[in-house]
Subunit: 239 residues, 2 copies
Amino acid sequence: MSEFNNFFKSAFSVDNIIFGFDEGDLKVLLIKRGAEPYKGMWALPGDLVYPNEDLDDAAARVLEELTGLRDVYLEQVNTFGAVNRHPLGRVITVAYYSLIRINKYKVTPASFARKAHWHSIAEALDLAFDHNEILQACYQRLKQQVRTRPLGFELLPPKFTLTELQHLYEAILETELDKRNFRKKILSMDLLIDLEETQEGVAHRPAKLYQFDSERYEKLKQEGLHFELKEGKRKLIST
Amino acid sequence: MSEFNNFFKSAFSVDNIIFGFDEGDLKVLLIKRGAEPYKGMWALPGDLVYPNEDLDDAAARVLEELTGLRDVYLEQVNTFGAVNRHPLGRVITVAYYSLIRINKYKVTPASFARKAHWHSIAEALDLAFDHNEILQACYQRLKQQVRTRPLGFELLPPKFTLTELQHLYEAILETELDKRNFRKKILSMDLLIDLEETQEGVAHRPAKLYQFDSERYEKLKQEGLHFELKEGKRKLIST
DNA sequence: TTTTTTAAGTGTACTAATTACACTATATTA
DNA sequence: TAATATAGTGTAATTAGTACACTTAAAAAA
């Protein structure tokens, strides 16, 4: 590896955009940096990748160290590699997003993080490094993917109502959906199990509870199912 | 950067999946490796990223060194970072795909490449490193993106016939399309300029020539156009 | 020159999916 | 028991997708 030696002076990191859903709002988990650079600023949870660690494993590790959660939906989005994106040297970073159920999360901040906190997507501004750009890229990717894969369920508790599901999609897609059309579409996919239970303790007619049928989804996927949700109002191609 | 020093011993590379279209077939440009490791095997064109070079610039450089082409459609797909993917050290690689007009390309092989050659996608097997995996990932991404963005035109000469365009989509999507329905759909998008010219020197009725209207596309995109092509036969969601 | 060959070009009827839209039902709380 | 709040439901109109076969225009062969 003689002539390559000049190259082996870089590092890479993973950064994790952890999405959650709460109070009708799409949230992202940020940490307040306890050390320079960017001390005191909010940042995406991330870490350098160990020399003997696979990239995907590093992303899962970062997530687990912060939230205590394993086996979470995790997807690689993009790699950011501008020369000066990190003040301490050449560090490129691979961005992942993950989807977690916000109430399963318990704070176990890693040593480098002084504070972890959920932020609404819209309020997550002024982040350290190039993390604003990374967050936007991941959010756009989530928006795109949520239309064609049943990812939304990862963000909801195991039992949910159709209205909760609709609100989730509305929050992610930043659009309003028609209640009847949404239900018609979702139920026609035959991916929900009607639990024959209802909400309790709400000051109105209680909603029925459903569960995502992941076995059935795996079966349908093999047969070529296209899970697909369109926009509230479809833009037409016209002159 | 004291405690970080152990980390700054890695390198990263870019690998470029260069797609072209010729003789009704989707092709990929591969080089035969002239040096160890994997000497003599076909590989994706790629290179280590210089310490002071942005990732995207590196991808564009690799492409230009090999083909002489600049300002080509180039898109980052995925980053591959298994610990042992490169025998000479820890090297993660960022994969890009690019779309070029095959007749604009002239061979100018870089020093590390003994030979560059177009391969049909289906025949590009037994590549060096983890390049089979990378190629497949990029091909899947192209397939997906070609449905919702007018990328196909990047692969055709500026003037083309509707049949050529159809064959291109059939090659990429690995499906057959109905001639009348394809034409109806494409023309209804209003993205083609009818050049009022016809083919010459063909032993049959000459086809009309068209040009992609990129100005109009930019305008329509802002208004929310969804360029979208579906499969030949649509799988229905049913019980 | 006529015939053959090859691919270009065209329209319609049917089916499926999407959209817009408003009232009734059921629980709690006042 | 009245008020409030959200759940739950159907249909008609529009748009998009699909299946399908014959005529046209050029070059090449007879």
